[in-house]
């Protein structure tokens, strides 16, 4: 049954996550990762695995904690609050879920326990040069050669590719009128000869992106994930879930911005009074609070709908993504405005949230894209 609140276990998870992140993921760590080409450390990943996060929603038989998607969204809200860097969603959602849903038992046994215990980091390489996550954008071909498929081509905007040990690669194996038909998923080891990973310098340096080039990579049959030509629906399902989690990250990030601004507005004195006593600042903050409240409600609805596999889950995620994206951008923009000059400096953390808001808005389609999908519900 759909439940909008937070139960006691979830409260505990939230508190634990906040404590963990305060200790292990301070801004000094995040800023160090911004300067790191890989964007994460093995050490940090191990710590997350130790508290059970890297397998949070995986079944127990694969070493997971078997918790719910709503639990995961609560965790992601806290991660967003701290603009946590690293391939968390890439690994656990965009890679592990397709393996869980489409994989053979052997594939599950090979990958999932290692993801759960933190030994393996993964990412999905889907998007190409058009930058959009959609089946029409998947044009990199995989050619059959005996039992194998040979991959040649490039993927762009691949998140977390340098940190990943394996890639889940979407390839085109058939051209058809329906672009969803003809996409095949391949599991590829990053260390394969012929794979080149080039960093793409990003505005939000906490979220690394790369161009990955595949030069005649042979994928044996055992690393084809799911049925040939039928791979898109697993990616689509994973992306729906990843999008719902990004909504949680955006709400969490927005909360940090609001709290930081309220604190600043209470203490920063100009013209003989705290700036928070001026209506202009007050009303900015009231607007931020209001939009965040509704963004949070939509985010919770989206997470619950996904958890329950509700038939309206798509719509809920479309709505949450559009609204949370707009809201986080607005809130982070005002975060800089309210702080004035200091909020515009590199040393202040506000720009990390501002840039994160821009990065998350584009991932899996921006607000305009999701609104168009909503309209299609009413066509």
């Amino acid at each position: 049954m759909m439940e909008y609140g937070i139960n006691e276990e979830q409260e505990m998870l939230k508190t634990m996550a906040r404590d963990f992140l305060a200790k292990e993921c301070p801004k000094t760590f995040t800023r160090a990762m911004m300067n790191d080409q890989t964007g994460i450390t093995k050490d940090y990943w191990k710590k997350m695995a130790d508290v059970g996060w890297t397998g949070l929603i995986l079944p127990e038989q694969y070493g997971g904690a078997n918790m719910t998607f709503r639990d995961l969204s609560i965790l992601c809200e806290e991660m967003g609050r701290m603009v946590m860097p690293g391939p968390f969603v890439s690994t656990l959602v965009m890679s592990a879920l397709p393996i869980l849903n489409a994989g053979t038992e052997a594939q599950k046994q090979e990958f999932l326990p290692r993801i759960a215990n933190g030994q393996m980091i993964m990412t999905a390489a889907v998007t190409e040069t058009d930058g959009d996550f959609w089946p029409g954008g998947v044009n990199m071909q995989a050619y059959p050669r005996g039992e194998d498929y040979i991959l040649t081509g490039a993927k762009s905007f691949v998140p977390d590719a340098m940190a990943a040990d394996w890639f889940l690669v979407a390839c085109r194996t058939k051209t058809s009128a329906d672009p969803e038909e003809g996409i095949t998923l391949c599991l590829v080891n990053k260390d394969d000869w012929g794979i080149y990973v080039n960093p793409l310098k990003t505005m939000d340096e906490t979220r690394k992106q790369y161009q990955v080039t595949f030069n005649r990579i042979a994928v044996p049959a055992k690393y084809i994930l799911g049925e040939v030509n039928k791979g898109w629906r697993y990616l689509k399902d994973a992306a729906l879930r990843a999008t719902a989690l990004h909504c949680a990250e955006m709400v969490g990030g927005g909360e940090w911005v609001l709290e930081t601004c309220v604190e600043y507005a209470k203490t920063r004195v100009q013209f003989g009074a705290p700036i928070g006593s001026f209506q202009a600042v007050k009303h900015h903050l009231a607007n931020m609070y209001t939009q965040l409240e509704y963004a949070r409600a939509l985010m919770v609805w989206a997470a619950e709908s996904v958890k329950e596999n509700d038939p309206q889950a798509d719509l809920a995620v479309n709505m949450a993504k559009a609204y949370c994206g707009d809201t986080f951008k607005m809130v982070a923009g005002l975060g800089i405005q309210i702080h004035g000059g200091i909020g515009f400096t590199w040393d202040h953390d506000m720009h990390l949230y501002f840039k994160r808001s821009r990065a998350l808005d584009t991932v899996f389609g921006d607000a305009n894209y999701h609104r168009e999908l909503i309209a299609q519900h009413y066509d």
Partner: protein, 408 residues
């Protein structure tokens, strides 16, 4: 969304649904049924009758103790009743401030005799209420109230004028904020009374609004005698009593949702989509224009956001978490501004037809879209302006310092 429920719940849900089928006004919910949208006597009569029907069947009157006429039921039953009522879009109640303001205020501050005398007839819709807060010089700021009461034996003698009175035309009783101590300071000089609208010296008249209707009225007090026992709360502490009612009123926002209105109208996403599909500009359907698709989708998002936020707060309340009472300022602003934005969008969809009002043979939907747009320009003013509510959010919820003010 609907999950496994106990057989008990399923049976009860069916019972409510059957009752609604039998008891709703004939034709209700079909496009043919034209519900009265404005403040006519027919609308009032329909509302009163519907309230009584629901109350008599045990489907209303929740949240009040039994001894004051309240109907007590398990929470899950109330939840199912509300869900089913919302799903089928039941008629609105009468235009009374009774359930909205008088009930919560009397329950919180009333003397025993007041609760016994007034609450049951508020709950069953038998008696209709209004309130007298605003005055020409006291809009957002109650401190400017000039209507004054002077003690005379067991009575208070009231003189003055109130404006922006909802339900001024049908009310049997009213709530009244008056100055009872001209010498005292702000927040310590007002008292709160219940008055009888048949009192000698009391008169009322319509206040015509920009929509052309007179939903609001003015009330005049010319040596009106109010018995001292009608005092609500302590003498000179009426400012604090008034807060209860204002908060309750603010929370009585607009109902928005996919299926919550009975006919084509504002809160109904489907009817806006239908309008966009039916309307062409320069030969092309509005619904095919990505610009309007985006804006209508945004309206759908915000409507669902309100529903989801209500569900979230409901869940938190059930889990025993305290909801800040100032949250009503958040939902009030959000719904009022959403209403105005969507009205503006509908006007753009209507194009030249947005000029056609009731009485024009070309008016769309009987002119209700346009009437609604005009009527709800007041949404960001009445029940606390958007600006005042933003101050409340900033100061009461976020804890920001008050601004330097001339007095206080």
């Amino acid at each position: 969304m609907v999950s496994e429920q106990s057989g008990k719940e399923t049976a009860f849900r069916k019972q409510v649904r059957d009752w609604l089928k039998t008891n709703l006004p004939k034709g209700w919910g079909t496009p043919e049924y034209h519900a009265p949208e404005r403040q006519t006597e027919a609308a009032q009569a329909l509302g009163e009758k519907w309230t009584k029907t629901c109350y008599d069947a045990g489907y209303a009157g929740f949240g009040y103790p039994k001894e004051y006429g309240g109907i007590v039921r398990p929470d899950w039953e109330i939840r199912i009743i509300r869900e089913e009522f919302t799903l089928c879009g039941t008629p609105p109640g009468p235009m009374s401030q009774g359930l909205l303001m008088a009930g919560p205020t009397i329950l919180r501050w009333g003397q025993e005799w007041q609760k016994k005398r007034f609450l049951p007839k508020i709950l069953n819709g038998e008696e209709s209420w209004c309130q007298g807060f605003s005055e020409p010089d006291a809009g957002s700021d109650l401190a400017n109230v000039r209507t004054a009461a002077v003690r005379d034996g067991d009575d208070w003698v009231v003189n003055g004028q109130k404006v922006w009175t909802s339900n001024w035309m049908f009310a049997d009783f009213g709530l009244l904020v008056v100055k009872t101590d001209p010498a005292a300071k702000r927040h310590r000089n007002l008292s709160y009374f219940i008055f009888d609208c048949t009192s000698p010296g009391f008169s009322r008249r319509p206040l015509k609004q920009m929509s052309g209707e007179s939903e609001f009225g003015e009330m005049f007090f010319d040596n009106v005698r109010i018995p001292h026992k009608n005092l609500l709360g302590e003498l000179n502490m009426g400012w604090y009593v008034a807060l209860t009612g204002l908060a309750a009123e603010r929370s009585g926002g607009f109902a928005v949702g996919g299926r919550s209105t009975a006919r084509r109208g504002w809160g109904n996403m489907e009817s806006i989509v239908e309008l966009a599909k039916e309307t062409k500009h320069y030969g092309k359907a509005v619904w095919d224009d990505p610009l309007f698709r985006q804006r209508i989708a945004q309206f759908a998002i915000q409507g669902e956001a309100m529903r989801a936020n209500g569900a979230l707060q409901g869940a938190m309340a059930r889990q025993g978490k305290k909801i800040d009472p100032n949250e009503v300022s958040v939902s009030k602003n959000f719904s009022a501004e959403l209403r105005q934005h969507s009205d503006d969008m509908v006007m753009e969809i209507l194009g030249a037809y947005s000029q056609m009002v009731e009485g024009s043979p070309l008016a769309v939907n009987g002119g209700d879209w346009v009437y609604g747009m005009l009527r709800w320009r007041g949404a960001t003013i009445e029940r606390g302006t958007s600006e005042i509510n933003r101050n409340i959010i900033a100061e009461k919820i976020l804890g920001l310092p008050r601004e330097a003010r001339g007095n206080d």
